[in-house]
């Protein structure tokens, strides 16, 4: 049948086309990594998302070039101005079953690849021995919390509010007040940092692209994620901003994560705690003055 053979020729033509598309993409990738793929480099989960994305992008581009190529070829080859009769074909069951099956197989492959990568993205690794000292993290049942194999990490609570972020650094000692900062989160390198994200008002979304995906901050819920900054990123400041519309100043609800070496972080944390203790003492002293009925100096 002429219809069949023509379709067969077409199929043969598509293979080199797809190969060319893949080659173009693979060689173009390093140069164009900035505009064609998500951010990465600050944490293994961001890197894993990036590589999963690249697999899907390659598959997507092959499909794109194959289908658009077929469409353009069809438009060029079968334009009426060539003066031929249209073939009155109502369908082709084999062909139709073929592309239904093809699409289904592709979808199954993509699902398998995604599941294969999921662990790397979802499950935090242990901290490096050279990392900041870590403590056991309490389990948070009923949430999407995932703990490292040794159940240890640095726990930082992230609270979104209109229009900023507050970070509470769990110092492992329930008796003392945990240090906290706003907007800038300080984090040690080589250390698994677990974030429990929540909100004190409307919904916000925590997103530092180079450190992995975004997680919504919802009042009443703990949304868990993690990052682990490699040693060579010490001194780097990773930027991000709220990704869920939270009101008029949504655009200015920025955040940054400043990477410190474990020893720098230790020093910073100690200084922060001293600062907080000092201000608590000052406040107590002032309160004593006021309660004694005297004027504040």
């Amino acid at each position: 049948m002429p219809a069949q053979s023509s379709v067969g020729r077409l199929r043969q033509g598509l293979i080199p086309l797809a190969a060319a598309a893949t080659a173009t993409l693979l060689f173009a990738e390093p140069a164009a990594a900035d505009w064609i793929s998500p951010e990465r480099g600050g944490s293994p989960n961001a890197d894993a998302i990036h590589s999963l994305y690249m697999i899907l992008l390659v598959v997507g581009l092959i499909v794109f070039f194959a289908v658009e190529g077929l469409l353009l070829y069809t438009l060029w080859k079968f334009k009426a101005s060539r003066g031929h009769e249209a073939k009155q074909i109502h369908g082709n069951t084999k062909l139709e079953i073929g592309w239904t099956g093809g699409a289904a197989v592709l979808v199954v492959i993509l699902a398998i690849v995604s599941f294969a990568k999921l662990g790397e993205i979802r499950n935090p690794p242990n901290s490096d021995p050279a990392g900041f000292r870590v403590a056991a993290i309490a389990e948070d049942p009923g949430t999407n919390q995932k703990l490292p194999p040794n159940k240890q990490g640095l726990h930082i609570k992230v609270t979104g509010y209109q229009y900023g972020w507050r970070y509470t650094y769990d110092d492992g000692n329930p008796a003392t007040q945990d240090p906290y900062t706003y907007r800038d989160l300080y984090a040690p390198t080589q250390t698994t940092v677990l974030l429990s994200i929540t909100s004190s008002d409307v919904i916000h979304s925590w997103w530092i692209p180079e450190l992995g995906g975004k997680f919504d901050a919802v009042d009443g819920f703990n949304n868990w994620t993690w990052f682990k900054i490699p040693a060579d990123k010490a001194g780097v400041s990773f930027r991000g901003q709220c990704a869920e519309l939270c009101g008029r100043n949504h655009a200015n609800m920025t955040a940054s994560v400043k990477a410190l070496t474990p020893s720098e972080f230790d020093a910073w944390l100690t200084a922060k705690r001293t600062e907080l203790d000092q201000s608590a003492k000052d406040a107590a002293a002032q309160r004593a003055v006021v309660e004694a009925g005297k004027e504040l100096k």
Binding site: I49, L52, L75, K87, S205, G247
Partner: protein, 570 residues
């Protein structure tokens, strides 16, 4: 016009009397002027009112879009203040979804579904009028908020941001009323479509001979009936939260903010398919006509549409991948969303193979249909990327998502609407639109659209979230946003050309005649524009392409030398 019961006794050509038998119970003065529009129950006039009103709202939504793009054209721009900017994207999204795409599809359905099935009107003509006026009421109430404080919680109106504690004022209430009024309009209209299509098809038109466009209007209607009550419930709960002290979405009062997201997206995701499926129908009419070939795999196209609709109601939480939800839930909705790729792929291949081995005439409706195919594909591929939830963690609520759904809804739905307007304008007005202007318009729109939205993928990948009124001079954001803004004006020029074309052709267009494109379906059997009663004689339908059969029969009886190939038998 006489209000008359039109009765044709027999429809086969041999026994048909020269003049149809008419029984007039009463004769009324014909209503003319504006009252003939306001008081009409004629599905064609209602259809035109839907289309014109939807296009007016489209212009409003388009102006809002251009203001958004102007504001984002340069870093740290101060053209719009944050409140105005939030109002603009809220109104843009709401307008395009509720007041443009859904109603214009209802307009096409109103005008052409009865004609394509050989009916003389919709099943419930008065309900049909009611449906239109509820839609207008929704639009007027919503836009009146411009004078009282516009809504600014985005078209998704997420709680608790939309609660009175965070967004007081009239705007969000106007949005809720819009949802209710247009919801009633669409529900009434959907029931009307289902009854009409189920009961009023021409003799011989079984389910397997119904034009694909009618299939898609049927599926569109069923989906509206499934999805709309849910958003109506959600919006009512929001209303009571805002004004009557309930706490459905307020966690401090024992409510759950995620409840809103589930209710909203249970409607919101089917809504995407409600917007695009009639577009599939238009494409499935245009491609066969301009390639002179039957649709490739009629049953597969109809079945794929139905399965997209079915799966489309089961994937709503893929909009919620970043919420605190269990991994099992994310996996379920990822797999469901992947599955939609299969019937969508089937449709794309069936459309391309409808063109394959045809004799393709590059008229404007075909250009827009092919534009739809090429860009909807991109939206489909980026959709699979976004459905992979670990990747969505990076891309969710970023400009990548904005690019994705504009490829589906502008490259997809809007290009199919343009195709439908160029295709059916001759039937509705009796005149042709200019091909030259139409092709210029197409190329401006196609190029402008891709300049605007292709680069937005990169913005999202580079970390730019959506719905921000300003951004700092970070990396390439300034340049890329400027490119996008320039593209949006090129797109705007393309649209303007089509509006000019439509306006000028009303008076200056060439006379179309009943069947300017050599169409396949019954609307081309009758004069352009059709008389009030549509069909004096309803032909018996013997295939999916009744008009092709009729043309061939005429050709064979008049002994025409260039008789077309074998009739399309099903």
């Amino acid at each position: 016009m006489a209000a008359a019961d039109v009765t044709t006794t027999k429809t086969t050509e041999q026994t048909l009397p020269k003049v149809p038998l008419l029984t007039a119970h009463s004769v009324e003065q014909e209503v003319t002027g504006w009252r003939s529009w306001v008081l009409t129950t004629d599905h064609k006039k209602i259809g035109i009112m839907y289309i014109v009103a939807a296009l007016v709202f489209f212009v409003l939504g388009g102006v809002e879009a251009l203001l958004i793009r102007l504001q984002l054209g340069t870093p740290d721009n101060t053209l719009l203040d944050p409140q105005t900017y939030n109002a603009m994207f809220t109104m843009h999204g709401t307008t395009m979804v509720f007041l443009f795409v859904i109603p214009i599809m209802a307009g096409f359905g109103n005008y052409f579904a009865p004609l394509q099935i050989g009916a003389r009107d919709m099943a419930f003509p008065k309900l049909n009028g009611l449906s239109f006026w509820f839609y207008m009421a929704g639009g007027v109430v919503f836009y009146s908020s411009l004078f009282f404080g516009a809504p600014e919680a985005a078209w998704t109106t997420y709680a608790p941001l939309s609660d009175d504690a965070y967004t007081p004022g009239f705007g969000t209430d106007a949005w809720i009323f819009l949802v209710h009024l247009t919801g009633i309009s669409s529900l009434v209209g959907a029931v009307n479509f289902v009854v009409t299509i189920a009961n009023m098809r021409a003799p011989g038109m079984g389910w397997g001979r119904m034009p694909i466009f009618v299939w898609t209007i049927l599926i569109y209607s069923v989906m509206l009936i499934i999805a709309l009550p849910v958003i109506a419930v959600g919006a009512t709960l929001l209303l009571t939260d805002r004004h009557f002290g309930t706490n459905f979405y307020d966690v401090t009062g024992g409510g759950d903010p995620l409840l809103w997201q589930h209710l909203f997206w249970f409607f919101g995701h089917p809504e995407v398919y409600i917007m695009i499926i009639p577009g599939f129908g238009i494409i499935s009419e245009v491609l066969p006509v301009f390639s002179r070939k039957p649709i490739f795999g009629y049953k597969a196209v109809a079945a794929a549409t139905a399965s997209i609709a079915f799966l489309g109601t089961l994937v709503w939480a893929h909009h919620m991948f970043t919420t605190p939800s269990p991994t099992a839930v994310l996996v379920f909705f990822m797999i469901g969303s992947f599955l939609i790729g299969v019937p969508t792929g089937v449709k794309i291949f069936n459309w391309i193979f409808t063109l394959y081995q045809g004799a393709i005439e590059f008229k404007t409706p075909l250009l827009f249909a092919v534009g739809f195919l090429s860009m909807f594909l991109i939206g489909g591929i980026s959709g699979i990327v976004l459905a992979t939830f670990p990747i969505d963690w990076q891309l969710h609520d970023s400009y990548f998502v904005v690019a994705h759904f504009h490829y589906v809804l502008v490259g997809g739905a809007m290009f199919s609407i343009a195709s439908g307007i160029y295709y059916w304008y001759p039937k509705m007005t009796g005149r042709m639109m200019s091909e030259t202007l139409g092709k210029w318009s197409f190329w401006f729109m196609f190029v402008g659209f891709n300049i605007t939205f292709l680069i937005q993928h990169s913005l999202g990948l580079d970390g730019m979230p959506r719905r921000i009124y300003e951004y700092g001079d970070i990396g390439n954001w300034g340049t890329w946003n400027l490119i996008s803004t320039i593209g949006s004006f090129v797109l705007g020029i393309g649209l303007l050309l089509s509006f000019i074309n439509g306006y000028r052709s009303l008076k200056n267009g060439a006379i179309a005649g009943p069947d300017p494109w050599r169409g396949n379906t019954l609307e081309w059997f009758i004069p352009s524009p059709p008389p009030v009663n549509n069909f004096d004689v309803v032909p018996t339908v013997r295939s999916v392409e009744p008009l092709k059969d009729i043309r061939q029969e005429v050709a064979s009886r008049s002994g025409a030398a260039e008789a077309a190939p074998e009739p399309a038998a099903h």
